[in-house]
Symmetry: C2
Subunit: 338 residues, 2 copies
DNA sequence: ACGATTTCTGAAAACCATTTCATTATTTAC
DNA sequence: GTAAATAATGAAATGGTTTTCAGAAATCGT
């Protein structure tokens, strides 16, 4: 059907090796020959057969990304910027959505390995031993994005959840003696666990007992935020402030307040986490921790590119910057504005 | 490094051909032999070399998806469900974000072709001749998702934009003599063009002249919706109703109203398009045209799978269902509720 | 002008699976 | 029991590159 290297070689009157050299920009081929080959390539509209090349070299120029929940706006930004970063170096992205299921993750890892990916990025909230063992066994450069991981061998990029939660806590203690928390799942969410640690630190620092009834669990979705707010208000009639571990849950909570005639920020202040795009446009707009999904994507991919090129990676843990952005959903006290 | 088919063959005491047959579930191999081979595979932890297989068969089990603006919540759902649908049949997704740039699209198409993708889905708003020509030339089964395309040869799945816009128009004419329109870009947005046609149809049917000042252009983003609303109100002091061609723009517009003391829906009713997840949680929640991104994804991928399997495709244009969902942003008049 | 480098090119092996064709072993049919 | 059909297996060709090794041609040094 389409021309192969042999055809080009014949037309140009040279050998296979020479054509290959021209294609790979080898410097040991003369100008004249190179020119002949190039015109032959043009004339035949020759395109290299990638699978043959991969078979021979074991280099696929493919990066696998296994992600949990592409319908999360924050992660979508991350994914998009990862892709943009990868394509600069001519890497394509194979994406698999694990929905956060370990089984799916393992399945994809195996599948992607067979496709000969050169590198892998895993976006997950849970770090089971099984997953880590699998990653180790495949012997493919891997970066974990989002979700801190204690293991010193693993390469990871993440927001500093503890610090960010501390910042929010500091801010909220300005308003009231305690604040309600809409946390993420108890099970398997490292991010949620770490943010909780930040909160606990600050409760302790302020000598306030962190009671169970201040805490309500969500799953990061809008709906769960709505329900969690309901629960919080039922248990704490005098609640003045809420820290939600995701913007989506915060927006759900705001909606609950609206439905129940609770004024924000007059009656209650709410702070979210993520700074998704819509956070600036809700009514009231949402105070939140801004962490750049794009930055997460870029940093992770850059790190992976280094690993794939065997460049030395001095620091295998990187933090993505964050800042507390105060908007209308919380009473303003001179802190960072946006 | 890792075992290959030869190793398996040797260990099992059979030939290469036999191993290959076992792997491919060929029925012309005896139970006993098959068993021997399978245990050998297990013992060696043998994994097939995909690139060799692809080289030989020209089947990669890879589907390319080229998308424009995947940070759009609606398209995220689409992408996710495409992936889910593909993996059921053991196809992996290679994803490239074109940002809607033709140049990028062409670049990706070429790149993906080299990676030997078995099928391609293109999500774009613009259908230049160049793009269509390119798609034709690569000879790979292709489906266009989102954005109707007149060309009878091409396979496409899309929402019925004209009809949907007509539905909204009918609804809005209940409230007032004319309504403002926040449309999508004039340039290269088929969806926007088609929705405009629906609007025009109904203006004509109602014998109302559609004046230029009723129309304001956005680019589907939150910000542009804010600005467009501003423009509309400046030009039409008595504006009572707005049809926004995306939810994101509608939310931007709502925010503008809020900032300018315009009450929704008391003063102005707004209807969006897409029914993104947050639309149910904004304040007021957003009346909109619900079109399922998931359905779009599933239908497109199913169609592509058929094409790739050479099954006959009776209808190469499919519509995704839509319905008008009335929420708080528009005064209710007994129509569909949600 | 002669040997020593350097530059350029080609032949052939390697990567690993699939598939056709031929062959042997086993059944079936009569 | 023999011919004919069927089932099971293997040998070898094939797909299209990259890369090592060796050799030819050109350049250099003196």
């Amino acid at each position: 059907m389409s021309a192969n290297m042999k055809d080009v070689a014949d037309l140009a009157g040279v050998s296979l090796s020479t054509v290959s050299r021209v294609i790979n920009d080898s410097n040991l081929v003369s100008k004249d020959t190179a020119y002949k080959v190039k015109t032959a390539i043009k004339k035949l509209d020759y395109q290299i057969n990638e699978s043959a090349r991969v078979l021979r070299t074991n280099i696929s120029k493919l990066v696998g990304i296994i992600g949990a929940g592409m319908d999360n706006p924050f992660l979508m930004k991350t994914l998009k910027s990862m892709e943009a970063e990868a394509i600069k170096e001519n890497y394509n992205i194979i994406y698999g959505d694990s929905d956060g299921e370990l089984e799916q993750e393992l399945y994809y890892i195996n599948m992607l390995k067979q496709k000969k990916i050169d590198g892998l990025i895993i976006i997950t909230a849970k770090f089971s031993d099984e997953l880590i063992e699998m990653v180790r066994s495949i012997q493919i450069p891997t970066v974990f994005a989002s979700g801190y991981i204690k293991n010193p061998d693993l390469v990871a990029v993440t927001v500093n959840n503890v610090k960010a939660a501390e910042d929010v806590s500091d801010y909220l203690f300005n308003f009231s003696d305690y604040f309600g928390i809409i946390r993420g799942p108890y099970k398997d969410s490292v991010a949620s666990e770490e943010r909780m640690i930040g909160v606990i630190n600050k409760y302790r620092e302020n000598n306030v007992k962190l009671k169970d009834k201040y805490i309500s669990e969500g799953d990061f979705s809008y709906e769960s935020g709505y329900r969690a707010a309901q629960e919080l208000f039922k248990k704490n009639s005098d609640l003045k402030t809420i820290f939600s571990f995701s913007d989506q849950m915060a927006i759900g909570a705001i909606r609950y307040c609206y439905d129940n005639n609770i004024k924000i920020p007059e009656d209650v202040s709410i702070v979210g986490f993520d700074d998704i795009e819509v956070a600036r446009f809700t009514k009231p707009s949402l105070s939140t921790v801004s962490q750049s999904g794009a930055e997460l994507g870029v940093k992770s991919m850059k790190l992976l590119l280094k690993l794939m090129n065997n460049e030395s990676v001095t620091n295998n843990k990187e933090f993505v910057s964050h800042k507390l952005v105060i908007r209308e959903s919380s009473k303003s006290i001179n802190i960072i504005k946006s």
